[in-house]
Symmetry: C2
Subunit: 228 residues, 2 copies
């Protein structure tokens, strides 16, 4: 798509959902204004742009908001020239969408549950659920990558972006709670994939470090404690 585009991304540096959109925009080589939101005091622009969920990311394109990370990534992929993020083959595209939905419906609620758990029992239960989900993703990687570097083949694609955006939180959970979600022993393929992803040009500059996630988790916990 040629022409001048007015793009603003409402985000949060430590949100994996925002990271997805930043990787997608980076892959397409489009420039945008990035606005960091304070989720403890949401901006009027955020509330007006995403009145249904009141969440980041929101991509505002020529004044019109697009919400929900998977929707935004597909929008960016369809709109802008550059490398295709979703596979171009319809069956491979369906498979990538299936696993992206699995990540968001099964894996993400489980690992966020580790973070939010109020008791050690609950934390252990969510950890078990997370490992069961990631083991299914390990099996999917074996099947889908067919020995290639990424889910999408030789280069980063949709599912790499969707899962790769969570990796710095996995490392934060290891440091905070000793849960090894991706583990070179238990999930060797994902272990090697995660290293490749972290070193990729696509991840550089937009994926924060695990220390930032740990700090944010402590900030959240303090806010929750203060609200009691």
């Amino acid at each position: 798509m040629a022409g001048k585009e007015d793009l603003t991304l409402l985000g949060l540096v430590v949100s994996p959902f925002v990271v997805r959109v930043r990787i997608a925009l980076g892959m397409k080589g489009v420039s945008y204004e990035y606005v960091e939101e304070d989720l403890f005091s949401k901006s009027e622009l955020l509330l007006a742009s995403n009145p249904v969920h009141k969440k980041v990311p929101v991509l505002i394109h020529n004044g019109k908001p697009v919400c929900e990370s998977l929707v935004i990534v597909q929008y960016v992929d369809e709109l802008f020239a550059g490398p295709s993020i979703l596979p171009t083959d319809p069956y491979e595209r369906a498979t990538a969408r299936f696993w992206a939905a699995f990540v968001d419906d099964k894996l993400v609620p489980a690992w966020i549950g580790i973070l939010k758990a109020k008791t050690e029992d609950e934390r252990a239960e969510k950890a078990t659920e997370t490992l069961a989900a990631i083991d299914q993703v390990e099996a999917a990687l074996a099947e889908l990558s067919d020995g290639k570097a990424f889910f999408g083949g030789d280069s980063i694609g949709y599912l790499d972006v969707v899962l790769g955006s969570c990796l710095f939180w996995f490392e934060a959970l290891r440091r905070m709670h000793g849960v090894g979600i991706i583990d070179s022993g238990r999930t060797p393929l994902l272990g090697a994939w995660a290293e490749r992803f972290g070193e990729s040009a696509e991840a550089k500059g937009v994926v924060p470090g695990a220390d930032e996630a740990v700090q944010y988790a402590h900030k959240l916990a303090a806010a929750i404690a203060a609200a009691k």
Copy 2:
């Protein structure tokens, strides 16, 4: 797409998710073998085709399974000629995907919650949640349809298929529990839309009656009681 296609749909007549796929296949005018599953005794083919979720619908295309209704509907739309199910404009497509996700993430769990509630209090809570979600969809219809007959404009599109597939269950919930999810007083636009949807050629023959849903709900309740 020309050529001979081998299509088998593993389904359940009263599943709204299966109804979506049948409407999509009907819109494209493609023929397929329909296989009714017994969810109390799942077939080997279902378990082998959808090992992750073990759920219908599964569309088996030339021997390769596609799972998850929203993924299947998009696959069918991309693969076959005929009327476009998703909007062709990228922004409208993003909006349709956003609301389809809203239906599946917020509305569907709420109305299924009415059905599964173990106490009257829980049922009332899920009913309140369902009405709050449907009121947001009413507002979306006002904005998206712009006075036209359907979410998709003058003809049935993605979001019509996604939401329309739930309508016979809404009627079943009204009969069983007195919950008026779509109500000509509270949600006049959805009320008129639901009538148009029910009378459409797309819905005819694949959307079952509410009595079938009521019967299935009783069968489920009896099975759950027997398992206690």
